[in-house]
Symmetry: D3
């Protein structure tokens, strides 16, 4: 049973449009707050997009995700789970990036997550572009390589860009595998699609044992079937979940920098997150929400709805019934 201090403000008390917007209307607990030690799941923003190679914007993601998250209520309508009553959740604020220095920013992010891990908190991240996942994994995988369930339209396994540049949002998992942060045999990528430069990324995946489920296969099978395989791939060992909002079709998630048409709808987008049940999630992220390309906030609202589904599974994983 969670501490009432960590319960979100209810829309029956304070209308959803009112109040300083924290994630899910949770208390804001900074890293130097004495209450930090009681937090079990921490929602963290990474307002950073220096890794984008096409259209920037995800640096504005955490703020809009916080704003739209005020429309999330306490109970999962489908499963009945009430995560905030199971575990102590808090908004840990944003990592302070350096928008003009990629290496410095990655150091800052890893350093922030090191403290989160040290405090025994499971981090649930709102990005930021997909490069954010790399410095997060550096903090989370200190005890050994993790498995990963990865929802995306791109593999993000490219070798480099622009004549040798190592760090972009198209390369994080290539680096993570090279650095031993991920166990490629326990990595599954779901929803891959769109036009491609070449097949270099897929050849790498094949070579190291990453399982790719392209969108054609996804549409041909059911979410249940696909997720059953995914759960089997990662097994019961510690696993990271990385959810790029461009996994979803751009009609449902227009606010992103590198959309690919032909993706899942919003119901499937929720279902795959709900079907993470039973996975040992040591951290998760929802990245690439780009508010300048969706001023209405529809993408962010879908994003926080997905985050809530992941949160329900993280909470249920901490205190299984």
């Amino acid at each position: 049973m969670s501490d009432p201090f960590f319960h979100p403000v209810s829309g029956f008390d304070l209308p959803r449009f009112a109040g300083v917007p924290t994630f899910m209307r949770l208390p804001h607990v900074t890293l130097d707050d004495p209450r930090l030690k009681d937090v079990q799941v921490g929602l963290i923003g990474v307002p950073w997009d220096s890794g984008t190679t096409n259209r920037p914007g995800p640096r504005h993601g955490p703020r809009q995700l916080r704003d739209m998250s005020t429309m999330i209520r306490a109970q999962n309508g489908a499963t009945g789970v009430r995560p905030f009553e199971i575990v102590n959740c808090a908004d840990l604020g944003d990592v302070p990036p350096n928008p003009a220095d990629i290496i410095d920013s990655m150091t800052r992010i890893t350093s922030f997550y090191d403290k989160v891990v040290a405090a025994g908190i499971t981090p649930l991240t709102a990005g930021g572009d997909h490069l954010s996942s790399l410095p997060i994994l550096r903090a989370l995988a200190r005890s050994g390589p993790l498995g990963m369930i990865h929802f995306d339209s791109h593999t993000d396994l490219f070798k480099d860009y622009f004549g040798g540049t190592q760090y972009t949002h198209g390369t994080p998992f290539r680096r993570a595998i090279e650095e031993g942060l991920l166990d490629p045999k326990r990595v599954v990528q779901i929803g891959i699609r769109g036009t491609a430069y070449d097949s270099e990324d897929r050849e790498f995946a094949d070579a190291v044992g990453v399982r790719i489920i392209p969108i054609e296969e996804f549409h041909a099978r059911s979410p249940q079937d696909v997720m059953s395989e995914a759960r089997e791939i990662v097994g019961t060992a510690p696993t990271y979940v990385s959810y790029d909002i461009d996994f979803v079709d751009p009609a449902f998630a227009p606010g992103t920098g590198t959309p690919e048409v032909g993706g899942p709808n919003s119901y499937e987008a929720l279902m795959v997150a709900r079907l993470l049940n039973g996975v040992d999630i040591v951290g998760a992220d929802l990245v690439e929400v780009s508010p300048p390309f969706d001023s209405s906030g529809a993408t962010a609202f879908l994003g926080v709805s997905i985050i809530f589904e992941m949160l329900c599974n993280i909470a249920a994983g901490i205190y299984p019934e």
Copy 2:
């Protein structure tokens, strides 16, 4: 056979973007117009949103629905029904609400619909927020409780808000059941989803016999199957149809104040309305279209397409073949 006076202007004569926009380009017949006695189906606007607890805007709904309705033509492409040739349809204008007084507005709405009912006209309403349905039901249910087929992502069965407030767009059907306007055993709610404050509304539904078909069940069954059950629940007795546009997924209907992701697509949205055939519809509404959140009018266009499907069934019900 309808009176040609009540036929809409054709886009072959006057381009669709031209002319003073009435609903479906029908004649504007006010309540004191001598032609009122010939009207069989009246399209009515309720430009009112004082019941919204989150994002306002539906007060602007009727105007945008009128505007987009000029793109509706005379014949149902799927069924071939030509409603304007079957019954006399007219735009009865808008109910004049009092935007700064909820109780006064409800009185005005009921009074307006009392006159419509007295004239023997079946009302087809363009809202307005969902609280609008309550004062309408007060006029329509004077001879006894009605059945209701209700499309929505929310039950709108809550007890109260903000410490005891009785009238919001989250409470109309709780009030309607309490007031004896609806027979709960002949009420079915389809598409319910999203996060929830608690289960108080669903427990009430269970207690009084309202049938809830959540979205997971909807997606697992076919629209045909679901609507077959719905028609059985309401049977052949008088029935009201209430269609909240947030039943539809926000990718298809972004212009609404309390969206919930994971809903039906536009084809399913049309199908369920088409499958109202055979129901004894004594009135219907399409509510919660909020133009400030969809300046393009896409939501309103879907809304009027749904209204047209309902109109075809109302017309076919008045003069069954």
Copy 3:
């Protein structure tokens, strides 16, 4: 010299797009926070728009104003004033309104401001529609009627609406004068323009001694000259400042519900606030920012720029050099 606890976060440390957005990046101090006693100027949101008679939306104003206020820095570029170093400023959060009950909401607002006044804090309000000013004045004028400098395109002095409704955003100052909260002879209204229903409001103003400076006169004179007269009208006694963003031309402030063309530009909008120097400001508001009609936030950015100018004058008034 202010307490460093109350200094805003700098954009050199945390980029402006990062962090939980409070007003001006100040600390969030709730009414039950022990630090409340140290606050001298409190920024307060009133997320409420039940008084709007035309297009709603200002309930969303405080959140967007907070968001855009993260682009405000520490020093007034024109005057060199650094308000956060002069006085202790804090974000006191939002008043919790009841969106479905006008009378209840007004009671809640007055009650909130009573506590602020009791704590010796000068309130600087981000609305909300203009009816918000009435319950605020009820708290601020407990020691006697105040003077008021009022920037607006409308007088908001109407008797009633919709057949006798007393409380709308067109009537607050009629009520405030009737209730003895304002001394009409110390009230000046600047920028009045647009089409009118009739002259009833202006006749009332003339009868009680309110000075109206219509936009034609404003454009013919300089801001300096107009503000010189305004300062003379209110004199050295306690004065409220009410700034309706629709004072400004809609090209500069599109996000508002009842715009009137032909208004001042943004430079004049800032200048009149800067020229409040020397006025004994006991409270001020910036109202009618309506985000649904300006998703880009340009109106809110102008709004917080004006709030900052007012804040500089309030700070300089508390500790005059």
Copy 4:
């Protein structure tokens, strides 16, 4: 004193967002309505843009102008004129254009205005692109060439386009002068600016005696001074007023197809229309409002504010005090 039948609906009775939107909320009187004979000033829509050479859209102008015109009230705030009490005004509906045939459309427009003129009604037109003025002038100038005060950023005096095409929105007044509909010596064009293909249009103007006041001269003089000259040029003989919304700077009127930066602000835009007092206006238009390029309606609202100023002068001209 006007007939109360022709008074607009008040916002105190029916909120401005409610009701079927006619121009200024006036009664809709079609050309075959028996009340036509009582109309003195007719507001007419010309939903047509086949003459646009750049970005289309003005075909949607009349509908949006009607919509935004519901925010216009009964009295001129600056002059106190109440036009609807002086003369009988009505919305005469839209001319039915043929969007796929320019010549046919011009015939239809002239024919419509012939009937309006025959009924003794002064037409006040909401366009439509600027080519609309030509077929209107054909109906209005049957008794001899008219003078014209023309507000625009372009002269619209070009010889032809695209290798000889005679009828575009860049040529109407060249044609009108050639056809003897305008007396070039009584024509003044105000606000001309922007880059130019060449000087052919200005050379024609010089040759026939049209007076061009470029924007540099406009900004150097006052609106009062410029309009004083304009009134002198047209004198007391019958005069047409043509107001292209692109006369105004695009910050104030973004919704138009061929904007030119550096224009007048909205206050000047109103002033020049207000300063038409004393001119014998036999007809006027406000053209080139293009809703697809301004979904917020700001341009249309400025447009109807200008139309209202013109209407006040027309009314005052019919019954001078």
Copy 5:
């Protein structure tokens, strides 16, 4: 193997947002360029919308399609086809239309395509409204009537508009059949839906042998099944492919002038184009993308994704493996 001169610029070398935007980042080869003789597939823009009867805008289509096409990469992610390595592709620029003269524009279009055909180039057109297809077919069908696979929500088989007007975007294929450009027995129309004026178009289709697959049938069958029938209908003889973007549901393709709800999603939209494999495509178009109704470019991005699928099939048809 294609000539490297005709390879598109890679996003690894020049970021996708950089450079003068040609279709797919291909070289711009004008009709008088000596390299024209080496081109095998030519991408051509027809910036023209004089045939629109409702909302204009497709004249802006080619530019936005070029812009968004810079996000298309070299390889089909699903099939692995690399079209630019199979055949020499180029951007042939835009046909210069006459926006104020329909007949002249059609002449110009046919003349342009005559030259393209004469150079042995297969044209792949980015419209433009659907009337564009008629003058293109006049050039392509000089050797005899073609078959056609037509994706659309409308039949575009109407007799005439507005009292006899022959050429609008609702009539091109009626004219094409009358002129002997299409063999109606080898024409299939897929996705037809929406309200209808009457059944005149469908009766014509039945009379001449055009096969219509309405949306209800499309949704009941699979894309594979439908396309299998389509391929059978056109057989192995020369065939034109015409793809109206309003075939797709407006949630996925909002930027079009005459949307109809209830259509296919983006995955189905791609699939039907991918399933054109084996058809002898002598030309293809993607029409009715209207940027003013989708400033984000989402519709154009879907459009170019579809064009790319068609291009892959054209390339594979020229050099079958």
Copy 6:
């Protein structure tokens, strides 16, 4: 007299919305094109925004500026200058930046401009964020420090950001002065305003002799007077002109990342560029246009209008009458 090869396409021949969009519809001449040697003024895009510290987007500037530049015609309406007939102008394409490496990007930019300078071409740049000016100056100032007329709301003279970061869009001219690229005594900054972190930048300016004309002084004097002083400061020696679009008030130029309210209007924005006459301009830029914050393109249209004014002065400077 210029070579007709370098004349832009006329809107009388090809409508402005048609064709592959190059700057001003000029020929696209790449650095390896044999025609390069004939170019006198080169329009160059720098699609790069890695220096932005707040809201990114200027990487998309060059494309939108090219698009909107198609609305620029051949002749300056105010001065009659026809620049394309005086000098040979061409679109030299975009510099290829490396969006994930600031230092590499600066090297690429300087290298590109070195070639331009070597070819004897005067570069006129469309940015890009303001950091772009630094690597450009490195190429242009190889023969000694330049003077600079700088229009902006910020000084861009800051020492560093985020704890020592040297290269952001807030530091280029500090670096340029340190590197000896600019002669601070021949530098004037016009329009400075907005809130400030501190006065460190202004103290540096004072110390080295940079003349700052804050917005208050600008509004108090006339553009003529201010520009007269500016021309005097730079004198007759070689001078760079750097124009940040945020110099202009955000109502006129909303599409920028760090707007400041209270700026000049569009007429003044044009005038100051027109009043550069007589200055020996060796290069100029227009930077910080950010399309994601202005999807309508209004900012870009103002931007290209300003570029055209600068071009007229550059042309007139090359061949003075």
